[in-house]
Subunit: 302 residues, 2 copies
């Protein structure tokens, strides 16, 4: 790059409940700068979205009507503007929703989330990671699992999202590990007993009716038998993930599985699934978001 | 009663994690006064227990070495003094544990909790309610269910606790309803859809492998279909209680069932169990505690 000031050809934005990330993009799909903020959707009123974004991306604005391509909760009813969900079955990135903005230097586009009517389910943000994954592997046919606070299992066929299902497993684990009586027994996460984890997953998966009974046993095992924090924590995680795998059996049985998420969480899901004899691939989720936003930008200008 | 000052023959104390209740008792088992405090075990250091109790019961002390009979977490390792668990099978009130105290006006006795080695489980406080229930119904043979933050299912035979199992259902419900993403959908408890509750219990009980999938559906049902707070809340409660009933089937199938707990919680459990065709009796838990403490006092002086 020369010494001349560089302005963005377009700007990619991932705006979730608790975080905002932006990338200054060149037309060839390369990011030449990035910026982050803790001003997630949850802390903003509707009129604060545009000024919040402008404060973050101001140095990148120099070209007329710079397109902003955004995904995540920014498109929810409580966000910048509601981008109505697309219904499955659908391609993961469908028509961009143009959102109003006051500043003439930018044009704001939001990627809509996906909805499913029966059983009811929704996603906002993960559809962009899915689009990013499929941009790299357009022939993929099978199931994408996106571990996280609210894990998603997504059935992909012929480049479309056919169906999906969301789980509170991550949020429940955090609540139970930090705020329930189990907090006295499961430690802070520095210890981990992989064998106990795999055993808990397999036991719960094979006898899902026993799940509820396993939780307090973790506390009692500590009190009566001095079970270690690492074993207790792995048993809690394993019981909850075993219940998720019991519910998603129709998704993963006999399927190609791709894990798309934070590497550490991917590894936990991989251990659980591999113990059931399944093969899978693992993909860092963050780069998939940028790939998905880039695919949407290419659609826009084509 | 005359105008003469009355002193307690003995004092009954129920001292849990978050609350302290005391009753001034006559030797015939009648309470003539009571007092409560929010100074539960969780907020006290070991040397604060005796002064805290004395401040509450001072007006009742006039007879030499007034016996105090206490139950609950006051007997845990973090309590006044650890009263080691009795192992099942055992009568619910076994030998009282005499705890040290500095003030010569009182003698402190703590009812030990119960433990079970396989599967590991513990209780402190409920054993006294069970003893109170059995004092009224000594011939009872079957299962006592004590709903609560940590519900207990207890198999009773020949006046003994044979086995028991504890569930985090109440604590999980509170965490999910107040602190998870579901808090936006389940309201504050003023609305309740009984049909949705019974349906959720029965569905989860018959297909426990689907439990984990039901939770986020509550949020999505609100977002996409405008499902009411009362229905959403009932579905959350029903899914969690259905999982508890799936795990406790060996306890309740074909058994006499007595519910011992707060009347409102008893009613929720009763609706769930009656929908499975079971018959049961319901008993307010609070008076059972005092009955159990009274039975222990009678043992002490006999």
């Amino acid at each position: 790059m020369s010494d001349a000031i560089t302005y963005a050809d377009w700007i990619a934005v991932d705006w979730g409940t608790t975080n905002l990330r932006a990338w200054a993009m060149q037309s060839d799909g390369q990011a030449y700068d990035q910026a982050t903020s803790d001003k997630g959707m949850a802390g903003l009123t509707q009129d604060q979205f545009e000024p919040t974004l402008l404060a973050l991306i101001e140095p990148w604005l120099g070209k007329p009507e710079t397109p902003i391509i955004a995904c995540g909760m920014v498109g929810s009813r409580q966000g910048w503007a509601e981008a109505p969900y697309n219904s499955v079955p659908t391609k993961p990135h469908a028509v961009l929703h143009e959102a109003p903005c006051a500043d003439q230097r930018i044009k704001m586009y939001i990627l809509p989330g996906l909805k499913q009517n029966d059983p009811p389910d929704v996603m906002r943000g993960e559809e962009t990671q899915i689009a990013g994954f499929l941009a790299s592997e357009p022939q993929f046919d099978g199931v994408i699992c996106l571990p996280g606070t609210h894990a998603k299992w997504v059935h992909i066929s012929a480049g479309e999202v056919v169906s999906f299902q969301t789980f509170l497993t991550g949020e429940m684990f955090n609540l139970l590990a930090k705020s329930s009586v189990l907090r006295h027994s499961v430690g802070d996460g520095s210890d981990w007993d992989e064998d106990a984890f795999v055993e808990a997953v397999s036991d719960t998966l094979s006898k899902p009716e026993t799940m509820a009974a396993r939780l307090f046993q973790i506390r009692a095992g500590d009190l009566l038998q001095g079970v270690s924090c690492g074993t207790s924590r792995a048993r809690l995680s394993g019981a909850l993930l075993g219940a998720e795998l019991a519910a998603t059996r129709p998704y993963w049985l006999g399927q190609n599985i791709a894990l798309v998420g934070a590497p550490k969480l991917n590894a936990i899901y991989a251990a659980a699934l591999q113990a059931q004899g399944l093969t899978l691939t693992q993909h860092d989720g963050d780069p998939m978001t940028l790939k998905g936003l880039t695919a949407a930008y290419k659609d826009l200008i084509s």
